[in-house]
């Protein structure tokens, strides 16, 4: 499991994860997280970030995936 850290930054770009439900397969608003090795920038949309967390591949300290309607 990789520990990633949210940058809190909003930028325009393409999600580098692109799961089936990705919302940034073409350029649009995304965020970035820092992950290994070192502090590598990973551009990601919220859907893909949370999918990575749900699958147990990424860990974000303090984050919880809460149910929504």
């Amino acid at each position: 499991m990789k520990k990633v850290e949210p940058s809190g930054v909003v930028l325009r770009g393409v999600c580098s994860i692109q799961t089936n439900r990705c919302t940034a397969k073409t350029e649009g608003p995304i965020t970035a997280v820092w992950g290994p090795p070192g502090q590598t920038q990973i551009n990601v949309c919220r859907i893909c970030l949370e999918e990575k967390i749900r699958l147990g591949e990424w860990e974000v300290e303090g984050a919880r995936l809460l149910p929504h309607a």
């Binding site: 949210p6 325009r12 919302t23 649009g28 995304i30 949309c45 984050a63």
Partner: protein, 125 residues
């Protein structure tokens, strides 16, 4: 709703509004929750979720101001995450109380929901 004291009270620029729209897009992901920017240029406007209209109004207090307390310094992304949490709770069936102390409890529960948002950068002590 944000506690305004110490947060920005000046009408937002187009650049600031554009940033908020993009931040909202990232936060909402695949959820359709409207962000109304019609009041964002007006001084002293308040960021808030409207249950009646089921949308969030962007106000000038979405941006931090000169206050040094935690509420005043909270980032724009965190502010919007808080309002999104109100909208999510509304969609889950929670209805906001209007009387004290229940309204404070609702704000606290909403803040707790928002703080778990995966996108938010956690401040290190």
């Amino acid at each position: 709703m944000m506690l305004a004291a110490g947060r920005n009270q000046t009408g937002l620029t187009e650049q600031q509004i554009e940033y908020c729209v993009e931040a909202w897009t990232v936060l909402c992901a695949d959820r359709q929750i409207a962000l109304d920017i019609s009041e964002a240029r007006q001084n002293f406007s308040r960021t808030r979720f409207s249950e009646d209209q089921n949308k969030v109004f962007l106000g000038v207090d979405a941006f931090p101001g000169e206050g040094v307390d935690a509420n005043s310094r909270m980032s724009t992304l965190a502010c919007l995450a808080h309002e999104l949490a109100h909208a999510e709770r509304f969609q889950l069936g929670y209805r906001r109380p209007t009387d004290l102390p229940d309204v404070l409890l609702d704000e606290a529960e909403t803040s707790l929901r928002a703080v778990f948002t995966s996108l938010l950068k956690k401040e290190k002590p």
